[in-house]
Amino acid sequence: MTGIIKVNELQGRTTANDITVTVGASATQSLKNGIAKTWFRYDQRTGPTIDASLNVSTIADDATGKYSVNLTNAISAENDVSLSAQHSYEESMSQNQSVGQQEFGTETTTELEGYTAYNGSYYDCAQIFGQQFGDLA
């Protein structure tokens, strides 16, 4: 028989945000520490448009190759986040081979800031992806 729990909110029994999950043969870890709190797919060449996202209210087109991600729920502290980002200039392979630099950081606890560039010049890119790990406030 398949075990399914239907619930709208999970909370730890002792501490609300402390739930342990088994993640290996026997290894366990905190559920909240492992899951991404924010992710997005953003098209700055067309629109610009947020194609898909989690915990993102808006993304501002600041300038060519520069964007700001405004979070729905704030992060707890700027030092307590780990970010990653990737991008491609367009969906075809040819241009993607020449656009290869991306910088992504925290501006405030409610705003992430990103750049897409190549060889000293900024470019708007069609597929920009970002993820954020760490605690929310």
């Binding site: 398949t2 075990g3 399914i4 729990i5 239907k6 619930v7 709208n8 999970l10 029994r13 342990t20 999950v21 088994t22 993640v23 290996g24 043969a25 290894a27 870890q29 905190s30 559920l31 520490n33 492992g34 899951i35 991404a36 190759g65 520069k66 502290a77 030092n79 307590d80 986040v81 780990s82 970010l83 990653s84 980002a85 990737q86 290869g100 630099q101 991306q102 910088e103 992504f104 950081g105 925290t106 501006e107 800031e113 750049y115 560039a117 060889n119 000293g120 900024y122 993820q131 790990f133 760490g134």
Partner: protein, 128 residues
């Protein structure tokens, strides 16, 4: 006594947003870190025991995890770099696996590595 619920699927009460526990376990990052490679120092982390300036080239930072992964073939590294308060926005990042307890991250501008304010790394996969 710790309370344990053994279940295959979580779902909201409306019957939506179902997620199998395999995705909770396999989809969770097993380690992440935010470092200042210029110091170097760890700003924030999860499942990280230490940071070492590798010394093999500028900007190469070695992250040692507290709990090891089960196999190097079963690890996926992602990374990011940011120096938005002082940089020009041209940094990129690289991440690669050393062994089941160690991985590297590096901030790069052009083809040169740099020590900068914010370098990030995450690894997905199974722990041992």
């Amino acid at each position: 006594m710790a309370s344990i619920i053994k279940v295959e699927t979580l779902q909201d009460t409306a019957g939506n947003n179902a997620v199998d526990m395999q995705y909770v376990a396999n989809g969770s990052a097993k380690t992440w870190v935010s470092i200042n490679s210029a110091s170097p120092a760890i700003r924030g982390s999860f499942n990280v025991s230490s940071l070492t300036d590798d010394g093999s080239a500028t900007g190469v930072m070695k992250i040692t995890t507290t709990n090891a992964f089960d196999s190097t073939d079963n690890m996926s590294v992602s990374s990011g770099a940011g120096n938005t308060t002082t940089g020009g926005g041209y940094y990129k990042s690289a991440g690669w696996i050393n062994d089941t307890n160690n991985y590297f991250i590096r901030a790069i501008w052009g083809t040169t590595g740099y020590d900068i304010g914010y370098v990030f790394g995450q690894v997905h996969g199974d722990l041992a």
